[in-house]
Amino acid sequence: MAFNILVADDSETMRAVIKKTVSMSGVPVGEFHEAANGKEALAVLAETWIDVILSDINMPEMGGMELLKKISEDEELRKIPLIFITTEASDARKEEAQKLGVAGYVKKPFQPETIKAILYEVLEKAYAHRLEENAGEEAGEESDF
């Protein structure tokens, strides 16, 4: 079963790069959704089933830290893992994010392998059964040949 992924970053170009990186990582993606700030991300979350959020911190109107705070205050939304992909990688920021329940932290600039590794780690923790199902489906498809 594929995963619906929300990418929140005020840079459209960065969103495109992140989507491309995730697509090439081998993670089964259902749909990508996009948001240019925390407010837009919350609007997407209110209307759409999202399995994992990849978010920047430094965004206008509502930054990633405030988005994470809002998510952590909501009983349903807090079940969705959020990974920060950000330039803000000081120990203080990481600590603040960990307190709010961030699932992963990727520092920009990033290597595609880093996003892949952290995304798989987070998905395995949150949705191990679905990854196993997907691996089973793929094995089934291969056996048809």
Binding site: S11, T13, V17, T87, D91, P109
Partner: protein, 152 residues
């Protein structure tokens, strides 16, 4: 700007350009030739920070440099790149470069980055930047990256 800060800037910017754009930077110490100072199309990106420390940086990308890093960043053909994407890439470059720099200059994370801005300058002469304090120049395959920064 002291030499230590210049070294940290070079290391941090190089990491961004090499990792995200496969482009190498080389610090330029001497005044560039007339050709490099000629008026032309540039992308200007600005970003500032405040809190535990304050600073602001202006980046000037010759259009060819801006276009080529966008091509490498997005993995698209040169003729597919739109002006908006070049501007967006310049702003994101400033964000990554100065975000990385701030991580080194302010490890306690007291300072906050502002949102980067970028605009296209149809006719800009980098000659106007010569002599400015805080000027750093980096040679690339696609022209000189000009950066003017302050940090306190």
């Amino acid at each position: 700007m002291d030499e230590d800060l210049r070294r940290v800037i070079f290391e941090t910017f190089s990491e961004v350009f090499e990792t995200m754009f496969f482009t190498f930077l080389e610090p330029l110490e001497e005044t560039p030739g007339r050709e490099e100072l000629a008026c032309g199309r540039f992308v200007e990106a600005t970003i500032s920070y405040s809190g535990g420390c304050t600073g602001s940086f202006l980046f000037y990308f010759p259009w060819e440099l801006g276009k080529n890093i966008t091509v490498n960043f997005l993995g698209v053909d040169e003729d597919e790149v739109q002006d908006g994407q070049v501007k967006d890439t310049a702003a994101e470059t400033a964000n990554m470069a100065i975000g990385g720099l701030l991580g080194k200059l302010d490890p306690a994370g007291k300072a906050s980055l502002a949102i980067p801005q970028a605009r296209v300058l149809a006719e800009f002469s980098p000659e106007t930047l010569l002599g400015k304090s805080g000027l750093c120049m980096f040679n690339t395959e696609f022209g000189i990256l000009w950066v003017v920064g302050t940090h306190a």
